[in-house]
Assembly symmetry: C2
Homo-oligomer: 394 residues x 2
């Protein structure tokens, strides 16, 4: 007499977690230096010093009742104003504090947004492969249907023919994630323009707005001269879901936001429905101390030094061995084509050498594997000979 769907979600472990737990077990048997774990997307760079200095200063010098007290449900007005101002400075928008809803991380932001847009049990949410597997869990949790558009495995942009074919009268929104987990690819300006054109046309045809749900925890993690287009500038009906998990290396603290620009059709209603969804799921407010920290650290940028070193080391060596991968312009992932054409089999082969890479199947690309390079550089150096062996054995 319990909820069977929730029971299933609570007992099934994701492919990523499964590998991670295996890695911990192997490390305890063989020693940590004998296991090369590329499974998790947990930042390996510490939070910037400014963050911990802000925490120490706030608890020392601020009114303790206010610091740890309830904020209003959408978040403190100071932090929402700081976030809106930062969006305006960086992207030339006209964001207002009352268009920002501070959340317990991007996962909460996505769940509230998806629940807000689920207009009926027939509503459909589209994700484009490769995609973060929890999108399916969040969408189905919100009561909508989850549809996947196959990957464009040439450039890992969007296969627009397939996307168009998947849109129906029940399409409520399309989730995009750029820089992408798991591919590391950044959607080009051309891709965003084409997406905006298609969704504008389809919104007219279906006679209702089709929203873009823009999940961007990796926005600040880009390498080289690549610019990540700010999607609300290209498409009015965009809801942004942001997180400080990766940019400020605070994944456990659960702090992010929803931004519903005034350009959105029914912007105030979408915002209210996201707030209502948060209320029904028990999100009273985002952690209050961290809200104050974000206001103080709004312009702090991540330190990408280690990720740059790791990325170059892996990319240079793996391509020299003959591996092929998606253009890894952002995030901290390489999405590798399995040399034997089968991500599950390749992951198993690698596992035998204690090299842990996640099969692409759960991301919607079964020919690939994901490598998280947010690890110690030594782990990469230690694993390179095994990667060489692996491609030779394929």
């Amino acid at each position: 007499m319990i909820n069977q769907k929730n029971y299933g979600l609570g007992t099934a472990r994701s492919a990523i977690r499964e590998l991670f737990e295996y890695g911990k077990k192997q490390a305890s048997i063989l020693g940590a230096d004998k296991v090369f774990d590329f499974s998790l997307g947990n930042p390996s760079t510490p939070a910037p010093k400014a963050v911990d200095e802000a925490i120490a200063d706030i608890v020392k010098n601020s009114d303790p009742i206010a610091v740890h007290g309830y904020t209003s449900a959408p978040g403190s007005i100071e932090t929402r104003t700081a976030i809106a101002d930062s969006i305006n400075r960086r992207f030339g928008m006209d964001a207002k504090a009352d268009e920002i809803y501070i959340t317990c991380g991007a996962a909460a932001a996505l769940c509230c947004t998806l629940s807000a847009l689920t207009f009926s049990s027939e509503a459909e949410i589209i994700a484009i492969a490769p995609f973060f597997p929890e999108y399916r869990v969040f969408t189905e949790g919100a009561g909508a249907k989850f549809k996947v558009v196959d990957a464009d495995t040439v450039g890992f942009q969007i296969d627009f023919e397939k996307l168009e074919a998947s849109i129906t009268d029940n399409t409520a929104g399309v989730i995009i994630n750029s820089p992408n987990n798991p591919s590391g690819v950044v959607y080009s300006e051309d891709t965003i323009r084409k997406l905006a054109d298609l969704l504008d046309r389809k919104s007219k045809e279906t006679n209702h707005p089709i929203y873009i749900i823009c999940d961007e925890p990796y926005r600040e993690l880009v390498y080289g001269d690549i610019e990540v287009p700010y999607v609300p500038k290209y498409y009015d009906n965009t809801v942004v879901c942001y997180s400080y998990s990766k940019s400020l290396s605070l994944p456990g603290e659960r702090i992010g936001y929803i931004y519903v620009p005034s350009s959105c059709e029914d912007a105030k209603a979408v915002y209210a429905a996201a707030a209502g969804a948060g209320r029904a799921m028990g999100y009273v407010c985002a952690p209050s101390l961290l809200q104050t920290v974000i206001a103080r650290c709004i312009d702090v940028q991540p330190d990408l030094t280690d990720y740059k070193i790791n990325r170059k080391l892996l990319l240079d060596n793996l391509t020299s061995y003959g591996y092929k991968c998606a253009a890894p312009d952002g995030a901290f992932y390489l999405f590798l084509k399995a040399p034997n054409g089968d991500g599950n089999a390749f992951s198993e082969m690698a596992k035998k050498k204690n090299v842990l890479v996640v099969p692409g199947e759960s991301f919607g690309c079964k020919d690939y594997v994901r490598i998280s390079y947010c690890v110690a550089t030594e782990t990469i150096k230690g694993a390179l000979p095994y990667f060489k062996e692996l491609i030779e054995e394929c």
Copy 2:
């Protein structure tokens, strides 16, 4: 084309918040010393010094990647162990770390538990008036039906005849909250025993466990010699939802837990379903820094000095004027019988004098009003003459 139920929840303000916002507006016009706001349950005592000392020490001396990193979804093993050990020391239980699921406060704990127990769309959850109004929102958000048992307005314990009549084959659980918001009443051992007997009998009759969902954020806030019975000792199928919001004055930080004792029928499945519900709602983990703080401060007790002063001042004076109220042995509320017999009308009368008390209707008792005495003692002193006037005018 948005979710209308969520839209409704996001636009409707609770009676409590409505009054609170009115109070802020009046204070800005008349001056803060002319408005006597007893609307919110926001602790007026700061977090114990040990909490802020722990925060400062942790960010200074611990591995920053671990401090702010993801914990496992149920929470760090160190904190879950500390919580289980504390439960065992205090209540003579045999709790294990894997029976504890750390949550973003009691609201998240309740939402996960209710969602876990919602075995079908016919499932019913019973609350006993007076009750915290968000129980309805959380229950309906979980997809179950919400049923209310009228209050026992003699002692504010439980009217067992009415409770028994409300139990059906679809009853999944009964939420109890002692010390109670809004009445301040603590359920006696006799009440808990009778409740356990009734639910044992009804579980047999309906051929499935009827769980007690024991919401106890106010457990540590008791006055005098009263003992708050630990419900899992009296009834096997009890799920505890706890929060540190009131005991450590950390309401904005969102930290609490679910405890599913092994005595529960299907304990492991209930726990897994609660975890699965959390996953589907985007609760990745509870805030990581606060998890570490809780482990360090597990034995820190709240400072009740101010609440004791406020409680005595209000209670002595209001009863001397002729007011009647429920026995306020815990929490930081007085639940006052409206002298004119109508809580809404009395709240309106008081509002005209800038004394803000919450009508009892949303708690399920329309003849009453709730006074939160977690305020500055000066606020109480300033309001007493108006309370005297009010009863004379009734």
